[in-house]
Symmetry: C3
Subunit: 204 residues, 3 copies
């Protein structure tokens, strides 16, 4: 067993910064200057741009694009066909006959914003994440959601625009609320409560 | 004219179970263990996982992913960029520092559910299909819909979440309802009525 | 500096009708019979079908599909993962045991409609555009929107289905409305007013 990353013969990996035991599948393209941590699974047809940062133990399913200024922390799950963004007011950088300011903004990317997906979070299949947002630790974005506002830790959001429709535990299972200020995971038995930073796990 | 499947030189077809006269286009990847029937058209950049099952005469447009436990019956049309799912509460299988039950669920895929697209159905472009659902025969899912509940035969559903907004005939054209318990296709003249299994065609 | 188009070694460009200084990136596929103008940027994993028409100075981000009968005018920006459509009532062309009319429609594509994206417009990431619509000059379709109706010049539309939620100037920035019949771009200072063709820029 080797700890070197595995790169499928039909993938294109230009980055020297891919961690041990990570796997990159067919027709994926990892640009030079992208960071991929250890023990990741990067699915087929994925694109990772220079300046993207992916931690350890991350699963990126097929046909996801990870742009510069996108940070994905350890153990997150990015579902198939998820679309990230990094530009608030995009116009083609090749527009003609427009004021200098328009060309300048488009070309210099002054409107590029940072996105962060917290450790252990899940972004559901086909979700779209607007630029400049943070998705909290162990949050879950439902499949097909369009996220236009920050998502707190352990929050479950769904719809277009995405709204909070519940909470999830570290397992990803929706939490039950047996008492007004307490939540419980029906699978693991873990308990949670609202703290100053949003939902927090109660350590026994 | 040959009945062998055609595989584009830039496609990657690892399955020996692709039927005659089917065509697989550039940058598509069909894994070993996937079934593709006869006379199918599998568009460019499509991914078909081992354990997926695609019947005869199916059209799968570009950039669709078909996972294990997804079954697509004869003559269905899967629009471009459709996103299927098979995991109800996905988390990265490589999460660390979480309870054993979380890792077990993620790794063993205990939450993988079956999806079935019925014969002659259409899934519109960019639609997202949540796991564990059946799309009925000759149903139509509108472009961009997010399907969170089963869809009956001949139903037309649209929106996020998808709701029934009408019925369609075998042609795909919305049906007219000239009388309280009868529907009619304005193109083919075929008539339909509500039966115990949903909308049924009236055979003359 | 050369004016020839650049085609990445892993791209597949079969068209001889790509303008000078355009760039086509890895795993993109441009079919013979597609027109791509000068000074365009065609992202990785993009598919451009024969009969598609892309003007000059257009940015097409990764994983977009541009079908025949889609026209994209000069200086437009097509965000990542945008899904166009061209078929109003799609069914598989390989359906069996259906009336002749159904097969005829599916095979002859009688329901194929024209789409036009106006000069300088932006289609946000992951948006879905239904067939037969015009997106006006310098309009902006928000990320994740599902466009089911025409969009006027300088309109900003968001949601599923997409609704007008404001106006944008040539920069792409939302306009302010300091007086009942006047709009102003806070970045460039350009002024706009409603004319017979929708929002128009006031030339000083």
């Amino acid at each position: 067993m080797t700890a070197d990353p595995y790169v499928h013969p039909q993938a294109l990996c230009e980055s020297g910064d891919v961690g041990p035991a990570s796997r990159i599948w067919a027709f994926a393209h990892i640009m030079e200057g992208a960071h991929v941590g250890a023990d990741c699974n990067i699915g087929g047809h994925v694109f990772v741009e220079d300046g993207a940062w992916i931690g350890d133990g991350v699963t990126v399913k097929n046909m996801v694009m990870v742009w510069k200024r996108i940070r994905i922390e350890d153990g997150a799950f990015i579902g198939p066909g998820v679309v990230f963004t990094n530009d608030r007011y995009a116009r083609s950088a090749r527009l003609k006959d427009v004021p200098a300011i328009t060309r300048r903004y488009a070309a210099e990317a002054n409107w590029i914003l940072d996105t962060c997906v917290g450790a252990g979070a899940t972004i559901g299949a086909g979700a779209v994440i607007l630029p400049g947002l943070t998705i909290g630790r162990f949050a879950t974005v439902g499949a097909g959601a369009v996220v236009t506002a920050p998502v707190g830790a352990h929050e479950l959001v769904t719809g277009n625009p995405a709204r909070r429709t519940g909470y999830v535990g570290r397992c990803g299972v929706p939490l039950e609320q047996p008492e007004p200020d307490g939540w419980r995971c029906p699978e693991s038995g873990e308990r949670y409560r609202l703290g100053r930073q949003g939902l927090e796990r109660v350590e026994d």
